[in-house]
């Protein structure tokens, strides 16, 4: 019984324990709850980093729940695994790192941002549950287990979106919409799981991947899974819940929701690459994903330009940036069966798409946090009512500039590095796609210039004379994110070589994922 062997379980267990402890602790002392949550998520972050180092140096890890030893995947000569298994490869831990970082920073930011009096213990309890469910979705190797975590994620995030629901009606409306669409998506995922189980009698993803044939039933399952998971990630034209939910949730929750929708995106990639891989018609499915990406990019950014609500505007940008990830990975999928094009530009396109997931989580998180900082001091999200805030909120202004430059893809920030990878590789697949991606990038810059001008520039408005800089814990979280953005921008090669490339290879080479459970088959 070594502690090191149980790290995959501990990543989930520690925040889960804290989630159920926090209402109890809240009865005794309201102030400690937030610190407890931040501490638990901090532990998760440390565990994730340790696990990431282990995975990137040794190879993929498994953790079998309820077995005699955590690595015993096939007990007593069974052909397929029966227990719930966590299968963590480079891609899973890449997403796990994003989740750990974002949820930890979200909890720290909440310390000052969330009102201390009203239901603070439930808030942290739900936040921890949301983090747990995201970890679960990213680490699990059991497809039914994935469904359970998906449902936990939607329930926790809906309750958090409605956090201000007792005072105003809009958060409840947003929550209701999100709950209905995510229920449809989760139930459809369950339907697909039923099809898989009826056909192959297995629920483990690796075992499923080794027997999958792309029969008529598998096609139906794929046709259900791709749109519903793309919907959860916010792909146009199924994106309409995104601006509602993102704009009405409290700012730190919005940041975590971005990571939660990326967990669904990860699930989409996992299904397409690890489950089906080259058995499916890569060109058609690749183009479906590319078209989702194109629509998301273009409609997302053009809708963003005309928004007046700062968080709604940023939410549309979240849709548009998701389009880049879908585009990059979609191109990778379209050339997956082509042995010449794949190493030539397919892998680079996927590296761009996957790298963009991490960059997006960082700069979009930072931008939502600055929007939250503006809301915290001015009490409004309406851009028409803001102005001249750079006079009084200097740090926030700097952080906003960094975030806006990163999302618009200006060098030397991190957004440029991943977008460059996408442009240059997608260009060789189809030049038109690359050109659209660049136009979208320009429009992104244009709409952030609008936000910057109307919120920060201009003379100091009389109603905001008293406005001060936000509290230190909020400045600290934004500073951490900004430093990471600059670091990723200056040294993108370190991240791409050490984190992104292994993740992409583990998606492309199906055996890297299935082999860890089924042994040398």
């Amino acid at each position: 019984m070594k502690l090191m062997d149980h790290i995959p379980a501990l990543i989930i267990a520690v925040p889960l324990l804290a989630a159920f402890l926090s209402p109890v602790v809240g009865k005794i002392n309201k102030k400690v709850v937030g610190i407890l949550a931040a501490l638990a998520l901090g532990f998760s972050l440390i565990f994730t980093i340790i696990l990431a180092v282990k995975i990137l140096s040794v190879g993929p890890q498994v953790y079998v729940f309820g077995a005699k030893s955590p690595s015993l995947t096939l007990p007593s000569g069974l052909k397929f695994p029966i227990r719930i298994i966590f299968q963590i490869d480079a891609m899973g831990i890449f997403m796990g790192l994003i989740t750990a970082l974002v949820s930890f920073l979200g909890a720290v930011y909440s310390l000052a941002f969330i009102d201390k009096n009203n239901g603070i213990d439930k808030y942290y309890s739900l936040l921890l549950l949301l983090a747990v469910s995201m970890f679960g979705m990213e680490l699990t190797g059991d497809i039914f287990n994935f469904f359970v975590f998906l449902e936990i994620a939607s329930m926790a995030s809906v309750s958090l979106i409605c956090y201000k629901g007792t005072e105003r009606g809009e958060p409840v409306e947003a929550g209701f919409k999100y709950m209905v669409v995510s229920s449809i998506s989760a139930l459809m995922v369950l339907f697909a799981i039923g099809i898989f189980y009826g056909e192959y009698d297995v629920l483990n993803m690796a075992a499923l991947a080794s027997v999958i044939k792309y029969s008529q039933l598998d096609k139906i399952a794929l046709g259900i899974l791709v749109p519903v998971l793309a919907m959860k990630a916010g792909a146009v034209p199924m994106h309409m819940w995104t601006p509602d939910a993102y704009s009405e949730a409290p700012a730190p929750i919005t940041m975590i929701l971005v990571a939660a929708s990326q967990a669904s995106l990860y699930a989409l990639f996992r299904v397409v690459f690890s489950l089906y891989n080259i058995t499916l018609n890569t060109l058609v499915v690749g183009w479906i994903i590319i078209i989702f990406g194109l629509l998301s990019m273009f409609i997302g950014v053009t809708m963003a330009i005309i928004q007046k609500d700062i968080k709604r505007l940023m939410a549309y940008h979240a849709i548009s940036q998701t389009g880049y990830m879908l585009l990059g990975v979609g191109v990778g999928l379209a050339v997956l069966a082509n042995p010449i094009a794949l190493p030539e530009y397919g892998i680079t396109a996927m590296e761009g798409g996957i790298f963009h997931i991490m960059n997006h989580a960082l700069y979009k998180g930072l931008l939502f946090l600055t929007a939250g900082a503006l809301f915290y001091r001015t009490g409004t999200r309406d851009l028409d009512k803001m102005g001249g805030l750079a006079h009084s909120m200097k740090y926030t202004t700097i952080f906003f500039i960094i975030g806006a430059a990163a999302i618009a893809g200006l060098p030397p920030f991190n957004g440029f590095a991943s977008k460059l990878l996408i442009y240059e590789s997608v260009y060789r697949f189809n030049p038109l796609l690359s050109i659209i991606a660049m136009v979208v990038s320009i429009l992104t810059l244009a709409s952030f210039v609008k936000v910057f001008h109307s919120a920060f520039l201009g003379p100091q408005l009389p109603q905001f004379k008293e406005v001060k800089e936000v509290p230190q814990s909020m400045v600290l979280t934004m500073a951490v994110l900004s430093c990471l953005i600059i670091f990723f921008g200056l040294f993108p090669d370190l991240i791409v070589k050490n984190l992104v490339h292994p993740a992409v290879m583990s998606l492309i080479e199906q055996f890297k994922y299935t082999g860890i459970v089924l042994g040398g088959r």
Binding site: F176, K177, V180, V181, S185, Q216, K219, I220, L222, G223, I224, V226, P227, V228, P237, M238, M240, D244, N281, V284, V285, I288, I299, T302, M303, I306, K308, E344, T348, L383, D384, K385, M386, G387, G388, P411, P412, F416, A417, L420, L421, E424, S425, Y427, R428, K450, V451, H453, S454, A455, G458, P459, L461, P462, G489, L490, F491, P492, D493, V496
Partner: protein, 113 residues
């Protein structure tokens, strides 16, 4: 080399970019310093020139968000009107889109073989 990102068709190095920007900035700063030094403070030269129109108050001169890109949205009205109308906020449409897209993808995947 540190910071060198291979993209398949070229490379990107942020450090080189930063060094180049600093160099150009230094040159610009040097040229700027060569310029005319003095101007007369507290005279007409201090004031903004708005074609002889009276200067509006500082608070009144802020352009609010709705007025930015007015020309852009006006020119693309044919694109924006249907698009905004599509975002009805009606929950029935949200689920309708999911069902439509699901049907489309099912057909595409089923037909393609």
């Amino acid at each position: 080399m540190l910071g060198l990102l291979e993209t398949g068709s070229g490379f990107w190095n942020a450090l080189i970019w930063v060094i180049v920007v600093l160099l150009i900035g230094a040159i610009v700063y040097y040229i700027r310093n060569k310029g005319e030094q003095g101007y007369k403070k507290n005279t007409e030269q201090d004031k903004p020139f708005i074609s002889g129109n009276p200067e509006s108050s500082k608070e009144g001169s802020h352009v609010s968000a709705s007025h930015i890109y007015w020309g852009f949205t006006e020119a693309l009205r044919g694109y924006y009107n249907p698009l905004v109308k599509m975002h009805t906020g009606n929950l029935n449409d949200y689920s309708g889109w999911i069902v439509i897209i699901m049907a489309l993808v099912l057909i595409l995947v089923g037909v393609s073989g």
